[in-house]
Symmetry: C2
Subunit: 385 residues, 2 copies
Amino acid sequence: MLLPFSVSAVDRGSRARSGLITTAHGAVRTPAFMAVGTRATVTGLDPADLLAVGAQVLLANTYHLLLRPGPELFRRVGGIHAFMGWSGPVLTDSGGYQIFSLAADRTLSERGAHFKSYVDQRVHLLSPERSIEIQSAIGADIMMVLDECVDSRSDEAMTRAAMERTHRWALRSLAARTNPAQALFAIVQGGVHPTLRRESAAFLTAHPFDGFALGGLAVGDTRAEREDITQASTEWLPSARPRYLMGVGTPPDLLHAMLAGIDMFDCVLPTHLAWQGTAFTSTGRVKVSRGSCAAADVPLDLSCTCATCQRFTRAYLHHLFKCSEPLGPRLLSIHNLHHYLTLMAEARAAIEAGSYAAYAAAKLEAIDRHEHSGRRFKLGGVAVE
Amino acid sequence: MLLPFSVSAVDRGSRARSGLITTAHGAVRTPAFMAVGTRATVTGLDPADLLAVGAQVLLANTYHLLLRPGPELFRRVGGIHAFMGWSGPVLTDSGGYQIFSLAADRTLSERGAHFKSYVDQRVHLLSPERSIEIQSAIGADIMMVLDECVDSRSDEAMTRAAMERTHRWALRSLAARTNPAQALFAIVQGGVHPTLRRESAAFLTAHPFDGFALGGLAVGDTRAEREDITQASTEWLPSARPRYLMGVGTPPDLLHAMLAGIDMFDCVLPTHLAWQGTAFTSTGRVKVSRGSCAAADVPLDLSCTCATCQRFTRAYLHHLFKCSEPLGPRLLSIHNLHHYLTLMAEARAAIEAGSYAAYAAAKLEAIDRHEHSGRRFKLGGVAVE
């Protein structure tokens, strides 16, 4: 069964499109940014916070949830939705990225990857079949195939070998799916080589996957390489299926990728930077622990409607970070996710209005101006960086 | 100006009473438990969370707020209420407890205590006058006099010397107050010596303080000593003024102290234990990281109405703590504060109904049974400790 996906609007000046993905846990309006909840929690936030910032879909991780709390628990409680109190759609990554990022902790073969658990030192096999079995137990609305990702600077032979294994694993994943209500996305590999990417897209789109992801980007490639591959790949992927760019990225990355026709994103950046004390704002990034925030009696972003900006000043956030108080990163996570999700909502509205290309150009110009000006300017009478 | 305080009900079988303290930021129904927000934040919670659990008053700390963010900032933003977004009453401790607990970092004289700042190594004088000046800047609804606290095992001569200095400092604090809208409480000292406590109460109640606290308890004394001193001291304090037992304690401590007529409490225990993974429940304390919680598909407390128990299971909380995810301590803090504040609400209702002594006896018996039974029992079909 294919995931119902409808494209409702396409922008005149670009391949940007908005649409609707229907799942058992509700519909997702695309383009959509997924909040990253690797271990069945978006760090420091609870499901009510996620609803408040406008999150539609959560991304969880098969590898980490295999180790803790383990698939047995998910089977017993009826899946991740009941477990973590999130009633919206959930997408699970397959563990393929951990085969790449935790290379020192695993041995890889055609069968799959053997990992030594960081929880209890037991050895676990993560094969395409096992990954689907775990994702089924987790109760993901959208599952990902297990893939082999390589550093973008790998040579073509190595990149091809990983891509071909990814294809064989994709077919094994498809064969292993038992619950047709759980969608399954394939992952296009091929590094920064357009010929490989094209071959990968051609191979995978010949099979009944519900959506197609671009994997193996933001792993050693330049921004230009990433944009070129994204731009080219969407041409080779069917417009009747969602296109998901994995692990990318900054607001400019998202704006470019939507221009190319990407429907789905995930990235740890908004929450990760929040825990480091950095906020995204309409006038550039703000590091709240900087001295310039110590007496700033203004919100992070005067134009932001999030719960943090409505109630707290930069001076208070500065104080919380200086005291290492966990309310600080929590309030910044709420703000940063709201910032990303507002960007996506604006993008959808622009696409529906047929003006995405113009919207993206103006937005990119503003971000570039704020982030690279090096100038200090006045906000509410207070100088800020 | 004295703080308006009215006693509305007294229990037949004990000195327990309920009443109302009126401040510029709203009324406080007593007996009241204050949430501890030392550094202008209750760790991990925001003001909306505090309202949701039923907190009425926050306790902040003059010493810590002097060092960071400093009184200048409070003057500029108009006080702690605007700074942290809390619109209810705030009580500030004077820094007297830090003279005791940070003895290695200060030198003490009749003038006050010189502290070396842990923020910037600068030396600060905390004198009775300076403490009042800072508490005025913070905008506390209720200020505390600077006092000298000694270990309860100190000899009588040393305890007397600290008590007499506390008296002199109390009068200097009273003279230093400039804003009559800010209430000022004196602190009774005298260790575990009833004669000194009586002398201290007699001295301080001869002056126009708005309320009276019992200080110097839970600093080396036994529970029996603490209860005896509390019981006796309330007799020597005027019933027309609030009586505040500082830094105490467990639910049984609170139940005993209310029986003796105490109106106000503060204690870090509910939030401190939450960050260590321990929850207070109606069937005893629960350490959520224990293996017995790993598969417990039940809330922390089946009879609890807090936002945590309404939405999350012990198994999920166990998972969060095992993953060191900050949502865990946050959810437990909400639960533990709700547990304490529900206890206080029940106590007030029992006092109003004239049945506090019976309520406290039954509650103490139940807590004793659950915490000291050593038995494991079944809750919702799942064995729990």
